[in-house]
Symmetry: C2
Subunit: 160 residues, 2 copies
């Protein structure tokens, strides 16, 4: 298993200098940052809820397009991450999109297993709001509005 996001070959097209071609053309030329990563937002295909935010390297993006199962690059483990390989929370991609300047990816997925996407036990990683109108200094989070949908210990073992 590679431990460098840049070590796998990048099969995608070279980026054209022409901004209009990127915004209006049919050429898919995703922009990876200097670490070889592109931002990926994952939403529930049925409800539209944002489930998680992660990064992909070129290999993860290629595998996602080719297999219709979400793959990411784990920055904490420094390795290719087939979401659900451990947890059973495999994400089946219904639609994959890119944005105007092609430096971000949006996935619409249905989730296998217990149907959740967050390792803390919630359906979505975005389970806490930041109350608006407070001063940034000392800002606090509101308690989660939703309950956990599973116990992480049941999925990842007692270590986590």
């Amino acid at each position: 298993m590679s431990h460098n996001a840049l070590s796998a070959p990048n099969p995608f097209s070279t980026r054209p200098a022409d901004k209009a071609a990127l915004e209006n053309g049919s050429l898919f030329a995703p922009k990876f940052d200097e670490q070889g990563l592109i931002a990926a937002i994952t939403t529930d295909a049925a409800t539209g809820e944002v489930l998680m935010f992660a990064y992909m390297n070129a290999q993860a993006l290629a595998l996602t397009i080719e297999t219709s199962q979400a793959h990411y690059w784990s920055r904490s483990r420094n390795e290719l991450w087939h979401k659900g390989a451990t947890s059973g929370q495999v994400q089946h991609v219904q639609d994959i999109r890119t944005d105007c300047d092609q430096d971000a990816i949006l996935l619409k997925v249905t989730v296998e297993g217990n149907g959740a996407s967050c390792h803390v036990g919630y359906n979505s990683c975005f389970y806490r709001s930041i109350p608006l109108g407070q001063k940034a200094e000392g800002a606090t989070l509101a308690p989660p509005a939703e309950a956990r949908v599973y116990d992480p210990a049941d999925v990842y073992g007692k270590k986590d």
Copy 2:
């Protein structure tokens, strides 16, 4: 106007070493990367549609929380970006969230002006799908499924 995302002071709390405190506590301690930026996903508060993806520096995040209007850091212009200042597409934040490890921000907004969020003229920046099942090499984009909702020349002038 500052031209370095790191030059404004960061008023937020220092990150605790304890992962459980970040995931389960009420302390808001957002993680900015080495360039001083945190990822921000913006969705339509009514429909849940993902409108855009951008970055915030500490000042942009603080202003967003304090004013309930979305502020970002423009990486292309290297400056604080009050969304809508030019286009009239001011984003009024209804809910702002962070994720489990507090290294991403989710905004749910209502948009002023013509109601769109993409400078190319679409409601959402994610107006093109990447057809699934194709090989990554030479991958192409599908034509936009939605029509433009405004002409950028009307908003930004003829220069784009």
